[in-house]
Amino acid sequence: MEPLFNSLEYLFNYWPMTLLFVGVAFGIVVGSIPGLTTTMLITLTLPLTFFMESVDAITLLIGMYVGGISGSQVAATLLRMPGTPASIMTTFDGYPMSQQGKSERALGLGITASFVGGIVSWAFLAILSPPLAKLALTFGPWEYFTMVLMALVMLASLSQGSLIKGLIAACLGMMVHLPGVDPSIGQMRLTFGFENLESGLSLMPVLIGAFAVSQIFKDIINIDAKPPAVSVGRKGMFLNVADIKKHGVNFIRSSIVGTWIGILPGIGANIAAMLSYSAAKSSSKTPEKFGTGHEAGVVAAETANNASIGGALIPLITMGIPGSVVDAILIGALIIHNLEPGPLLFTTNPEIAYGIISAYLIGNIIMFGIMMFAVVHIAKVLYVPRAYLMAAIIMFCVIGVFAVGNSFFDVWVMMIFGVVGFIMGQVKMPLGPFVIGFVLSPIAETQLRSGLMATEGSIMPLFTRPFAATFFAISVVSLLWPLYSDWKKAKAKKASTAVE
């Protein structure tokens, strides 16, 4: 417990506290503007953190993460435009509530739900991480490989749209990682003689291109679209005891679902909200009310998407495996600061591991304060002309990418992946699996090959090591289950048509 208190004590100094406050505030503002995502904000802030102490840099980024996911409900509720994908589910009931003149109530519920989800998942993060890091130290190449495999398959099958498109996106992401030095034999591969490809395609240009630049291309198409004006007051935002009682079970269930989905590598806030929403609906006595402005729907979605942040931080600090796309960027941030996220983070850099945990706690409290008192003003941010924003953002994209590697080649890579991301969006291919494939496949490849090296070519550990075997089995089932259920459905349909 002592290191946690030490890091909380550090956090209460004026500089880290300022950074956290600024991070949360920025996160909320950017998160609430449709078209600007948390991922974008964090990728673009990263180069600015080069000259900060590592702990301060992480504090700032965690603040943005919490603020961004929470802020995105504002536009989702008022305009039916999710500020970030995390709030897609919030539009289902938040927007109808707003239409019925209950904007304040919807936002109040959403903000409180975000806060509760954050705090519950923080408890899991703080309690589970240290022992999990110890367990993770016993994980060898086979465990890591199967865990990543599991993450890739689950992500592909759980993200929006078809399994096939998800898998194609994941494979594309994995292919992008291939050029450069072969991690197992130290030789060049697939560089086609380009010296610039010898170091492979770096994380930041690909991520900034795929997320920020592609989003800008997408927004340019309907740059003149102006959201309709909505006014928000402050009345009725605070919940009373009766409300807490009414939604208590929902709060707890959604927090746990969100945390759990967050822990699973690769899948993040949007899927957490989706699953928690359907869990709330299926356990409700009045499922037909969901989608018509039902309070429980807002609570389920907003609790879970925030809870997923805390959950997603668990694999990040214990194993160095991203729990979501934003976490993939946070890992990049740690690496840029010369920290190696993994089971030893608690031993080698406890200030970072506990710094993340405390920043997440205090970040949630700050988020609650800012959102409750400033949501009236935040709602106005929605009407900032996007043309100005986009121009500034593309400039920061170029500066940011150049600053990471001092190389203009990276800027071209960013632009190319901007186009790739845009095209993928147009053909409804999810970006999540693409990025996670790109980030996770080096881990999978290195671990599998080093495992094979150690066993001199035998794959038996896949079946004999208990954790590896479990992860492997889950991967196989998650891959086959959708195919099986499709087949079953098709068969049932056939049977029913036959009867007719």
């Binding site: 060898g140 010296e195 030893l344 590697g405 190389s407 495992g451 090296m453 150690a454």
Partner: protein, 334 residues
């Protein structure tokens, strides 16, 4: 006095500016060269900020600025990628006037010996070695080996019974190969990229042996590892009780220097000036003290001697790679 000095400098600066304007030059080319440096010197580092190469470059630049050894500041440009080959190429493309230099080490020789790229020492101008450091071989503190002899005896009795955490084709790999060849034992490998990954593999019992720089070892020792052998030419002050491989009868050394390089045919006056200030820097109390406390060896080797030594090391590495069939061609034959 100071005022006069300043104004003289300003006049000189103005004159120099005129001299550089095409067609107005009043000085001969040689006189202009004598004023090196005329603009900030860019030191390329092929790694992210924070590693040894970066840290040493920053300390040197800071020292030179504080002691006013050069009239212009030195700026660190981090250009990571392809094991520093990217930064090296940027420097090779620069004008050889001494304003763009490279701070690297012997990983260039490894890449060359492994034929990963075609960068060769003779493409550069060697400014000199500014100290260097050597690695240690470690095992878990709880391991039943207390000396290198224990470990080798065990491996000789049970070939391939222990695993080494190595990134293939890098220093840890080639050091292990050389020691194994010299002592006549065999290990298995498990891939592990960075120092932290090697430590995790070692502590998690997925590997039994791992190599760390002596400085890295000092930092990681409290986690439960012990060093059995030091690969430096001589013992170092910060780990006085770790014997060198040479003392134990194996001629396996690796003294990775901080090598300062410039593009080929770099201006002679500039090279000499850079060598003299770098030498002054490493000989200073502050820098040599920092080197000693970080298990590094502070020394200065002049450019030509450094080049000669590097070519010797390269020839040796090429032989190791060839003798042990580590390159691609052999792999395909298998």
């Amino acid at each position: 006095m100071a005022l006069i000095h300043k104004s003289t400098l300003m006049v000189a600066g103005f004159a120099a500016a005129i001299a550089f304007t095409p067609g107005v030059g009043v000085f001969s080319a040689d006189e202009v060269k004598a004023e090196f440096p005329t603009k900030p010197i860019k030191i390329y580092v092929g790694f992210k900020p924070g590693g040894r190469t970066d840290l040493v470059a920053r300390l040197v630049a800071k020292h030179i600025k504080e002691k006013n050894l050069l009239s212009q500041p030195m700026i660190i440009v981090n250009q990571p990628g392809a094991a520093a080959a990217k930064a090296a190429r940027s420097v090779l493309k620069a004008k050889p006037d001494g304003h763009t230099i490279l701070h690297w080490h012997h990983s260039m020789l490894i890449s060359n010996a492994m034929s990963v790229n075609k960068l060769h020492p003779n493409k550069f101008t060697s400014i000199g070695y500014l100290g260097g450091g050597s690695p240690v071989w470690t095992v878990r503190t709880a391991a039943p080996f207390n000396t290198l002899k224990d470990l080798i005896d065990h491996l000789k009795a049970n070939p391939k019974s222990l695993t080494e955490a190595v990134p293939i084709g890098t220093i840890p790999h080639l050091m292990g190969v050389q020691l194994a060849a010299a002592a006549g034992f065999k290990t298995r490998y498990v891939g592990a990229a960075g120092g932290s990954d090697r430590l995790a593999k070692l502590l998690g019992k997925h590997a039994d042996i791992a190599l760390f720089s002596a400085a890295g070892y000092l930092k990681m020792k409290p986690n439960g590892i012990k060093a059995l052998v030091f690969f430096g030419p001589n013992r170092v002050k910060s780990i006085p009780d770790i014997p060198t491989a040479r003392e134990l009868g194996y001629d396996v050394t690796w003294a990775n220097p901080n090598w300062w390089l410039g593009p080929k045919n770099m201006d002679k006056a500039a090279t000499a000036k850079l060598a003299s200030v770098l030498k002054q820097a490493i000989m200073s109390k502050e820098l040599s003290g920092w080197f000693n406390s970080h298990a590094l060896d502070p020394y200065w080797t002049d450019g030509p001697a450094a080049m000669k030594d590097s070519l010797k090391v390269l020839a040796k590495l090429q032989k190791v790679v060839k003798d042990n069939n580590i390159t691609k061609k052999k792999k395909k034959k298998k």
